[in-house]
């Protein structure tokens, strides 16, 4: 285990060799994107992207953990919320959209049918936010009373994005690359606020525009509407959503998945994410890690020709695969999810050993940076301007898999997940941001590379790759005046602190400089 330069180069090359020719075409007719898209079969999809976010799911996941009965109720709530939301998004008689995935508490949905009918797609994105807010307030919260109500925030944009999918069997996820897929998530504000971009606003019919308030140059907020007015508008736009029917389905699900059947447990061995379900959840002390390719949005936006776009996709596939491999093969981690150009991972072994968990996660973070800077850029020089930002935090985390058999999302819920994502977002390319808890749990050989950054509210290491860690470890030997051993006969020079066959012992001189 552990990151290795040659192994990394080999597997990147192997992946590139087996990738095949990427093709990008316009999506001109309705199709099941889950079946159509592959790593190399990509489509330019005109659509409306919607993100909705249950703002207090993560905190509740942490708060409820102290009481077993409450925690089970929370697990039931999370699963059933997702089931009904998925039905609202995807059922042909409702919104007929595509649930791209749940990123923990965040839903990413896409409307692309009817093809290229921008106004209709914008209308669907507009109403999905209002309907999910109404559903959460008037159906879900009464059915699942907790100490506080769940609240949602949302964002939507419309435009073209390139749809693709990573290529491993049983481990496939859709991905949409394009400004509209990013902006929809980025405009999300505080709980209760539903927002749309200027592009989506301008695509709406007049009477829906009248329900929006301009927030700034590019963002509009959807005003609150009464249930009666919402129902009238849904009728007007022929969108069938019935809150009583939603309530009945939720009640039926509650009967189908009673609290007595919902289990959670600690994990003594590495979690098999695919074995998780509503009945089998894990609650673990874990380090969450997010690695995001900073500069990728600009890179893909700057790719004007199809050839450049194909090149960008090839780079992205290589990066995503390599990031996942570092987490799962080089280190004892789980790849939870790809989220666009970001990967989410989890480390929870050995059980409850914070020191070892933090060390493994941070070592993996250094491995991610090493791959990005040393091997990906060597194999793909066109990625030279891309950098990786990584965030890590550690605490109790809920790990599960949501959804129906055909389409299930791995999720991790808890404050450390949100904190790790926030640290990653606050960091710049080339940086690793870790929480105080992670910092405190690290051995000195790793923690000494991090310093507290007040503006980012976390400990940050910049440009930290594995060779730098090794070099810093040699600093102690040099400081002690110890000899080193130089082995230079082969293709490279290796300097170690321990005697090795064929190596020459060198006791470094005291350096000097003349004035």
């Amino acid at each position: 285990m552990g990151w290795n330069y040659e192994k990394s180069l080999e597997r990147i090359q192997e992946h590139l060799d087996g990738m095949g020719e990427i093709e990008i075409q316009d999506l001109v007719r309705e199709a099941d994107l889950n079946s159509l898209l592959t790593e190399t079969c990509c489509r330019r999809v005109h659509g409306a992207h919607v993100y909705t976010y249950v703002a207090n799911f993560p905190r509740m996941a942490t708060d409820c953990a102290v009481d077993e009965a409450e925690y089970k109720r929370f697990l039931q709530a999370v699963h059933l919320y997702q089931r009904e939301v998925a039905r609202i998004v995807e059922d042909a008689d409702k919104f007929d959209g595509l649930r791209v995935h749940f990123q923990g508490p965040k839903l990413h949905a896409l409307f692309y049918r009817p093809v290229k009918q921008t106004e209709r797609l914008a209308v669907l994105a507009f109403f999905l936010q209002l309907v999910l807010k109404d559903f959460t307030n008037s159906v879900f919260n009464p059915a699942f009373p907790f100490s506080e109500d769940f609240t949602i925030a949302g964002g939507a944009d419309v435009g073209d994005a390139t749809g693709t999918r990573n290529g491993r069997k049983g481990d496939r996820e859709l991905l949409f690359l394009g400004p509209c897929a990013n902006h929809a998530a980025k405009i999300i504000s505080s709980a209760g606020r539903l927002r749309v971009t200027k592009a989506l606003y301008e695509a709406l019919p007049e009477n829906l525009r009248a329900l929006c308030t301009k927030i700034d140059e590019d963002v509009y907020q959807i005003n609150s509407v009464t249930q009666k007015r919402l129902d009238e508008l849904l009728d007007e736009y022929k969108i069938k959503w019935d809150r009583e029917a939603s309530a009945e389905r939720l009640a039926e699900d509650k009967r189908k998945f009673p609290l007595k059947d919902i289990e959670y447990s600690a994990a003594h061995v590495l979690i098999d994410l695919d074995a998780l379900s509503i009945r089998n959840n894990k609650r673990v002390t874990a380090a969450s890690i997010f690695g995001d390719v900073s500069g990728f949005t600009a890179y893909i936006d700057g790719a004007q020709t199809d050839e450049k776009k194909k090149e960008a996709l090839r780079v992205l596939h290589a990066i995503r695969r390599e990031m996942a491999t570092v987490l799962t093969k080089d280190y004892e981690g789980l790849r939870v999810q790809y989220q666009g150009d970001r990967v989410q991972g989890l480390f929870h072994m050995p059980k409850d050993d914070e020191g070892k968990i933090a060390t493994e996660a941070v070592e993996a973070a250094i491995g991610l940076q090493s791959s990005m800077e040393k091997t990906i850029k060597k194999k793909l020089p066109e990625a030279k301007d891309l950098r990786l930002a990584v965030g890590v935090d550690l605490d109790t985390t809920l790990v599960s898999k949501l959804g129906t058999r055909a389409h299930r999302d791995r999720i991790c819920l808890g404050e450390p997940v949100e904190n790790a994502a926030a640290h990653e977002e606050d960091c710049e390319g080339g940086e690793i941001g870790i929480s105080k808890r992670v910092y405190d749990a690290l051995p000195e050989r790793l923690s000494k590379h991090f310093s507290y950054d007040k503006s980012k509210c976390c400990y940050v290491a910049k440009d930290l790759t594995w060779d730098k860690v090794e070099q810093a470890e040699r600093a102690a030997a040099y400081a002690a005046g110890a000899s080193v051993f130089v082995n230079s006969g082969g293709p490279g020079i290796r300097i170690t602190g321990e005697e090795a066959r064929g190596a020459r012992q060198v006791t470094p001189s005291s350096s000097w400089a003349d004035e």
Binding site: E470, I493, V506, S510, S511, W512, A513
Partner: protein, 236 residues
Amino acid sequence: MRGRSHPPLPGRTSSRPKAWYERASGAARLSHDRALVAGHYPTLSYRINEGEGRVYLEGPLIYVAGCGIPTEVELRVDFPFDYPNGEPLAFDAADRFLPHDMDRHFSTKEGCCCLWLPPKSRWDPKDPDALLTFLDEVVVFFDRQLVYEAGGRVAWPGGEHAHGDVGYLEWVAEEFGGDTAAVTALAPVFSGAVSVGRNDPCPCGKGIKFKRCHAPAVERVRGGIGLARLRRLFPL
């Protein structure tokens, strides 16, 4: 006389004296050095400027970390006209370690490496493998540069002397076992202002003969530091 009896080597102008490698002993040394370099630092190669009679050894030093990451540092070694009596100079040829300042132990903007204080030089002209010892020291010096960078350029990894004259004074103090009173007492002797007979009492005041007291240390100091610098270090 030999220079007159033989035609100049190709590229050599008759106006310059023979370079070290053009003499029989120098040619043999060069041949031996080439074999050393090929065996131990195969990425380096010789370049000879026949017109100027200068020899350079240059190329990448490829450091491979335990994790396999390679780091290249371009090295150039300049050989002096009096090689092997004079020691070579090593340069950070591709400006890998900027700024080339004294805190990083470079003595020129061109990146000339200050491997050691001259009196503590490990260059031994009589050692046929001196070049290998020198290159190993250079390789470790550059590794220390990498370590210095990885540590945020806070502290030079390992031993160092203060810059310039102060470094020499540190060395003189070392040679006198840290006895600063003796150094002060013997300063006029270093600089030649006062001469002491070997059987005279040592100026340090211990009451024993100079030859049995500080004469060896004084000899090392006078051998290690040029008179001009000694007079600057120990003014009358």
